[in-house]
Amino acid sequence: MNFVCCIKQVPDTAEVKIDPETNTLMRSGVESISNPYDLVALETALILRDKYGGWVTALSMGPPQAEQVLKEAISLGADAAVLLSDRAFAGADTLATSYTLYKAIRNLDLDRPVDIVLCGKQAIDGDTAQVGPGIATRLGFTQFTSVVEIRELNTYDRHITVKRRVEGGFEIVRGPLPTVITVDLGLARPRRASLPGLILSLRAVIDRWDADAVGAEVPKIGLKGSPTWVRRIFSPPLKEGGPVFDGRKDPVPAVERFLDTIVADEELISELFKNPGV
């Protein structure tokens, strides 16, 4: 089995916090990390490789410093890594990104036919969940999004059975390889790097491919290949915190004052208690 795992370097959005004093964004430095969903995808690929044999290639598109996420992938056990890096790739939206990744996967496929592409369900910076399906559609592979469990991988009749999240529950679905799977966080718990893995990753040479190397058509990549443009970016309006009553020592008066502020909202109360008798 030949696995390709797509990994995005993202800012750690969890580190951007709201300052409780000023209700503004805390302007501390934000680190770059591997998208947590993608690490689950990688873990899934590694587990499947260890069970069925094969080869895992980690693939990322980004600036030169995105090499870091690929070194991490190597330290965790990926067999190879390719960084798609070219100034011409910059400013790509999901359409241009899925095109570029598709071209790279086609390249890998020529070398060694790709059976399963794994991606995180979404990235924590953009939260679009569009790149995985975009790659699947372009490749013509079977598409399974929001997968929470791999039930069965049959390498003889080349079918996979997965459990995926749908509205109101889950569905168990079986389909033919090759496939693109986007994984939910619950699918696997990413391992920690081993010491030999870390040493290996320090020495690892990450292949770097530019637009020419993947044979990408220039009008379809980067800013040029991106139909969507950002017109305006703004911080969401933040609410001011209201009064806080301390009921730790003497709860009764604190609860009373707390309720007074709620009950004072006549409109709210009349809307919520439309039906007397509740």
């Binding site: 951007v16 409780p20 924590i124 910076d125 969940a129 969401p236 209201g242 730790r248």
Partner: protein, 418 residues
């Protein structure tokens, strides 16, 4: 204003203000911006002084002197204004499961009607599925002017490639200038396939839609970076302009019986190759599947610290009293104490009830982005420094086991006096 060795007035980052969001790095056309130490750095020798970073920075962390006031981009000579004249109408994909349309579809039908009137065009429903019963009629009643349907036994349940093909075919036939879908699991899966097939722009999970009437542009606003930043996105050079929209953002269109319109049926040309087979549907473990916490006027939301089995009857009593249901934060779901459909926040549901009653919810930013649109937020927490108090209209510090019974009692009395 600093200049580089080529004499270009260059931009510079004000490190104290930079929040490390990387938006400028993505926008820079020459790749002059790199991240280090969590903040952006501009290489003055690479910078061409275009000012893009200055324009996009959400926190004014770029020092730059724009040469001239920003003007609207000129129309490209030779490109006729009506290059998209064959595209018409604001379309909505009506998501149908077991003969029943998703509520978000009617919310979008209402919005499509409003947007289409502002553009002087029609609202269109696109429907794909099987055993669609009266959905086409319903679509007309909810405000669509015309309906285009593919009804085929192969479309009995959702499969990405089958639905992708059907809706791509409908889109290529009808050619709407705008196409909206609900940002449900199905809608987001399908929209990505269709947008890739027709090679157009798609903006995910929008929370606001507006129209630039002059340019006939759909302005799509969505949260990014975990909700810390909002972005308004548009798609100028491709049609249709596609967007998925979060359920619960818009009110459903007004349903008027007797509204009529044209209903067109098309045969289905399925894609070739072997399709996956759905073996089983597993309901979420509570058996309350399909519960949409976004539809209730009040929510009692518990954090992990307030989610013990002994207290649940008390929490439920409070929820019943205020006419709502019990929801939760992500750690509660991760601990297996409540099903995913009850989760509020970035990775759960976005809600905006009239009353949001948080108990033991600390208020991580990923949670706050999923509820900050609520009309009234009240919070109980034993930690006086819990971030939830920074966003709540009223807060109460205390152990929920002590204070919640008092709150229930007091609320009952206050209401009975009315």
């Amino acid at each position: 204003m600093p200049q580089n060795s080529k004499g270009i007035d260059v931009a510079a980052i004000i490190p104290d203000r930079c929040i490390g969001c990387q938006i400028c790095a993505g926008e820079c056309p020459v790749g002059a911006i790199e991240m280090s130490g969590g903040v952006a750095h501009i290489d003055p020798e690479v910078c061409i002084g275009c000012g893009k970073c200055f324009e996009v920075c959400p926190v004014e962390a770029v020092s730059f002197e724009p040469k001239r006031p920003q003007e609207t981009p000129q129309r490209i000579p030779g490109v006729p204004e009506d290059r998209f004249s064959e595209y018409r109408g604001v379309a909505v994909f009506i998501e149908v499961t077991h003969g029943q349309a998703a509520p978000v579809s009617w919310e979008l039908a209402g919005k499509a009607r409003e947007l289409s009137r502002r553009l002087g065009t029609v609202a269109i429903a696109l429907i794909a599925g099987h055993e669609l019963k009266d959905v086409a009629t319903e679509a007309l009643e909810y405000g669509c002017d015309e309906v285009h349907v593919i009804d085929d036994a192969l479309l009995g349940s959702y499969l990405s490639r089958l639905y992708g093909k059907a809706v791509t075919d409908l889109t290529n036939t009808v050619k709407p200038e705008i196409l909206l879908m609900g940002a449900t699991a199905l809608g987001r899966d399908l929209a990505s396939v269709v947008a890739t097939n027709v090679e157009t722009g798609l903006t995910a999970d929008c929370t606001g839609l507006d129209i630039d009437e002059e340019k006939r542009l759909l302005l799509m606003t969505r949260p990014a970076f975990g909700g810390n930043i909002m972005a308004t996105i548009f798609c100028e050079n491709h049609r249709p302009q596609m967007s998925t929209v979060r359920p619960g953002v818009f009110r459903p269109g007004e349903r008027k019986a007797g509204r009529t319109g044209a209903v067109h049926h098309y045969p289905f040309a399925p894609p070739v190759g072997e399709m996956p087979e759905i073996l089983e549907f597993v309901r979420d473990n509570t058996g309350e599947t399909g519960l949409d916490i976004g539809r209730f006027p009040a929510l009692v939301v518990v954090g992990k610290g307030a989610c013990d089995p002994e207290s649940m009857p008390m929490i439920q009593e409070l929820a019943d009293l205020i006419g709502g249901v019990v929801a939760c934060s992500r750690p509660v779901v991760e601990a297996g104490l409540m099903p995913y459909e009850r989760q509020v926040g970035q990775t759960g549901k976005t809600v905006a009830p009239k009353l949001y009653f948080a108990i033991g919810v600390s208020g991580a930013v990923q949670h706050l982005v999923g509820m900050q649109g609520s009309r009234r937020i009240v919070a109980i927490n034993s930690d006086p420094h819990a971030p939830i108090f920074g966003i709540s209209d009223t807060g109460l510090i205390g152990d929920y086991r002590d204070v919640v019974p008092l709150v229930i009692k007091g609320l009952r009395e206050a209401v009975s006096k009315r």
